[in-house]
Symmetry: C2
Subunit: 581 residues, 2 copies
């Protein structure tokens, strides 16, 4: 017998666009109320967007958040949504600092505000830098049910507000999130939410952001989890969605049996519980809606592809661009970037440029043209041989200096086309070459966004084959020329060059990089794993030495736990080298 | 009557160079012991260098630190330094995480280790990301005196280990630091150390790192502070120095009267005090050394110049370069960078390049040549007109696209010379243009290091005049041509262009930027300060919009509290605009 209709609004907010985000919350609440929702929940900091980074430190920005949330409460009532409890994330500021808050709006007022307690400060997160932790636990009674609110990291750490709510006893926990996507994150997320539901002794309504902001992608994947760990409903990934569900919540609260402590000697604070009664009595029985359709997470490669498409699309659009350009080299990286761009923006927004030099092969030009033909995008050829010659002769360049000038003349050409025509330049480098520094700074690293920055070379090939197979399943033309997938990789900056002149075979290289970068495995761990000692030492030297180039690389979609960038920031002048004893 | 001879070793460590740093500690301790020192103190994390950033997260790096400190204790004894108490900063790691530690070495052993409690996580600091806080307070008795140790941020926050030491009662506090330089930081540092000495009821031996690492510069400025707030001795800034002093410390400990609490609801932990008696009895009276000569901090502009020289010199040398190159434009920015480089590296390490284009003035070439003549550095002319033409015609470039190609051809030329001859390229942009985005990405922003990245344009002029005046005082040729100081600033990318076509006058612009960036003053604050509302709005839009370019800028010496970079990181796709209501 249901007592409550929940609506989880899985929306795509834009950082800084308080007016747009507020209008979106109003519009989606209106839709949810039309569907009869009693509780409507939006993601973490939905009014501010996520991550706000140093914007958090501007007094005027926190003040504008506060003004927006107060006005939103009034506007919701005026829009006929005053009887719904609406949970909205925003920033706030008081004497102790800036807060990552979620307010509960009801009857034209902000009836309670919860400030996030656990502030993540690892990986892509810097929240200890920006926010002060909160110690207040508001609980509101709606239709006879006690409802508490927590925010994102609060469920990822032991102890803290979920445990405290469990001890006090609540009937429902609303957890609002801007939880960035990582590959296979849902495998971790679902058991985690189940564990916290058990700890709270109550169902959890878990609503997550969707879309992308700068480096981060949000997959949505909002869920309603029963107190017994059963997934009651789930939203699709990578798309805005309003998940509406009638839930059967036995009123009366529960007490958790055990409260896990945080490790170390910092003890949990005593939270201040404040109770607000909005509607003391339960609803009379009503006919539930049909259950929403069952949703499964996407298969692995489809999920990765969707994350990359989302990251690219939102970066381009949220930066006010409508079209992109980059070099079509005939190789696999630019081919996969082109297929991603066509999926994200449509082929008419894609302007491919072939920029052959003296050393370019005939197939580099024909494969590039074939790629453009299959995608139906714009394409032109801009040879760089004359530009390269204008530098090489007068400056007397040889060897590496001559190789790099070719890549740099291509970078200038693309930036000139961008300045002249308004396209955003993309940098199609993959994670493997970024890791080991196999790229030319101010050359192929030029661009505003790097779509496959976090995709290892071997995964680039996997994605290419997967995307072509998907097209074949649908009876469409596979977007990526088979020759671009099969050919031996080469930068084509000198005669007969191949990537393996400078790098180990990609399958071995990616395996070592995965251990060293993603797995935090040391030299001795990797040798114990069975990798050749000399190879491991060589790869580690390349990775540690490539830090400067990585800092100059444009942002890119993060799809693995540890991308380069904020997650791995070595001192540039580091003299530390792991090596054999 | 002195009881103790202190030696503060103000040294220049290199991040990651554990072997080199350890050898340096051994050598300086030997010198200090030759001078009869009983206590020798080295800076925070001197074995690891500072800041280690993500190196902190490598297990093998922490393990190598641990091995180095253990071996150092033995090697010190074998070198005849076993009777001195040597305080050495390093990293450590245990079940709770990585530690920022200072070990006390005596008699061939590590007799105690203190782990930093207050972990700064603002501005240039990310220590909450890397380190776990310590809760142990070791106190060792040497020659009858109780000595405690704290680390850097521990004295910048109220409450914590200094207050705890004061409550327990100690005779001397050794404070080891890697405290980055900011303009006029000594005005803050001295009263702060005095306040903590009062709180501890004991003198403080404050030893600081000197030199530069990546973005950060350390000025040294080590001091010995009496319990009464009197500066007993002070080391010179920006140079390695061994400060040796006999101090008169009444034994018996003291108890502070008041312990300031931290703000907020997080309470101080109960520290675990452990006492180790090395030598229970005081030394017999001995003849003190003559007091070290009095040292005053440098005057403001001399201090700033020294910081910039130090930052540039150590970046170049610690990265293994011996020479630098960049464009001599005839303007003030490149002239000041050239004077800095000549002071930092010597004129023979400086390779100036004049790269006139079609729009370059005659004086841009003659002033550049005159600069090189005065400095005695290498100089050549590499016109870029032909290279520019190779792009402009075939690509049909006009307007901004044509302007940018000139800057980018210069960038390619410099990088080609770097690849061919091994010089490090410097980017001579100043803080004002970096703040408002008045530069060409992949053009004049090209380079490995930006010496005046944190120097506003008006301060560039001040420094130029100051440096010339200093030369005149010494009877030397003023390094910077007067014409470069006096001329109207221009990028010379189109006919008759001046900076003020695009920017407000520099004195007003710098004043607004100082308020907005350094002072965290909002639009309304700045208007209340008397700045024109339209101008403020225009400047704020330029600053917020220039984030992408700033992220691509090379590192540079930080001389003001808030440089761009880690201290101000806006979301790139930010839609927030402060403006008139």
């Amino acid at each position: 017998m249901p007592q409550l209709r929940l609506a989880l609004a899985q929306v795509n907010a834009t950082v800084g666009d308080i007016a747009g985000n507020t209008a979106m919350v109003l519009e989606w609440t209106r839709r949810a109320v039309q569907e009869g929702a009693h509780v409507v929940a939006f993601p973490e900091t939905v009014l501010a967007g996520y991550p706000v980074e140093d914007l958090a430190l501007r007094k005027s920005f926190a003040a504008a958040n506060r003004a927006a949330i107060d006005a939103l409460a009034v506007n919701l009532r005026e829009a006929g949504c005053g009887d719904a409890l609406v949970v909205v994330g925003h920033l706030d500021r008081d004497d102790e600092g800036v807060r990552n808050s979620a307010s509960l709006l009801f009857g034209g007022e902000v009836v309670a505000t919860y400030d996030k307690y656990h502030l993540p400060n690892y990986g892509v997160f810097d929240e200890a830098r920006y926010f002060a932790p909160g110690f207040d636990l508001p609980i509101v009674k709606l239709h006879g049910l006690d409802i508490g609110v927590v925010i994102c990291e609060d469920i990822w750490q032991n102890g803290g507000p979920v445990a405290a709510l469990g001890q006090v006893g609540v009937d429902l926990v609303v957890c609002v999130n801007s939880s960035p996507y990582e590959r296979s994150k849902d495998d971790v997320r679902v058991p985690l939410v189940a564990r916290r539901a058990a700890e709270a002794g109550a169902p959890i309504a878990y609503v997550n952001m969707v879309g992308a902001q700068d480096d981060l992608v949000f997959d949505g994947d909002s869920i309603v989890m029963g107190a017994d760990g059963e997934v009651l409903a789930r939203a699709p990934q990578f798309t805005e969605h309003l998940l509406v569900l009638d839930v059967d919540v036995p009123a009366g609260g529960h007490t958790a049996t055990t409260v896990p402590e945080q490790p170390g000697r910092i003890r949990m604070p005593a939270f201040d519980v404040t109770r607000t009664v909005l509607q003391p009595d339960p609803l009379p029985a009503y006919e539930p809606l049909p259950a929403p359709p069952g949703v499964e997470p996407l298969p692995e490669l489809a999920e990765t592809w969707a994350a990359l498409v989302t990251g690219l699309r939102d970066y381009v659009h949220k930066n006010g661009f409508r079209s992109v350009t980059f070099g079509f080299s005939g190789g696999i990286d630019s081919a996969v970037c082109a297929a991603l761009a066509a999926d994200a923006l449509g082929p008419d927004a894609l302007h491919g440029v072939s920029m052959p030099s003296h050393y370019s092969s005939e197939h580099s030009r024909s494969d590039a043209a074939e790629l453009a033909r299959r995608l139906g995008c714009h394409f032109e050829e801009r040879p760089v041989a004359d530009m390269v010659a204008a530098f090489v002769g007068p400056l007397g360049l040889t060897g590496l200096a001559e190789e790099n000038v070719q890549a740099r003349c291509r970078g200038i050409t693309l930036m000139a086309m961008s300045n002249q025509h308004g396209h955003l330049v993309l940098a199609p480098g993959n994670k493997t070459e970024l890791a080991v520094g196999y790229s030319t700074i101010y050359g192929d690293a030029v661009g505003g966004f790097a779509p496959i920055k976090d995709v290892p070379k071997t995964l680039v090939w996997e994605l290419a084959r997967w995307r072509n197979a998907e097209a074949e399943k649908l009876g469409e033309v596979p977007p990526i020329p088979e020759n671009s997938i099969e050919k031996v990789p080469s930068a084509e900056l000198r005669p007969d060059q191949t990537d393996q002149d400078s790098l180990p075979p990609y399958d071995v290289l990616d395996a070592v990089l995965d251990g060293y970068v993603e797995g935090d495995r040391d030299y001795s761990d990797l040798v114990a794993d069975g990798f050749d000692a000399e190879l491991v030492e060589r790869v580690i030297r390349m990775v540690d030495g490539a830090e400067y180039k990585r800092r100059q690389y444009p942002p890119g979609t993060k799809i693995t736990l540890k991308a380069f960038g904020r997650d791995r920031r070595l001192p540039i002048t580091n003299r530390w080298r792991e090596s054999r004893p």
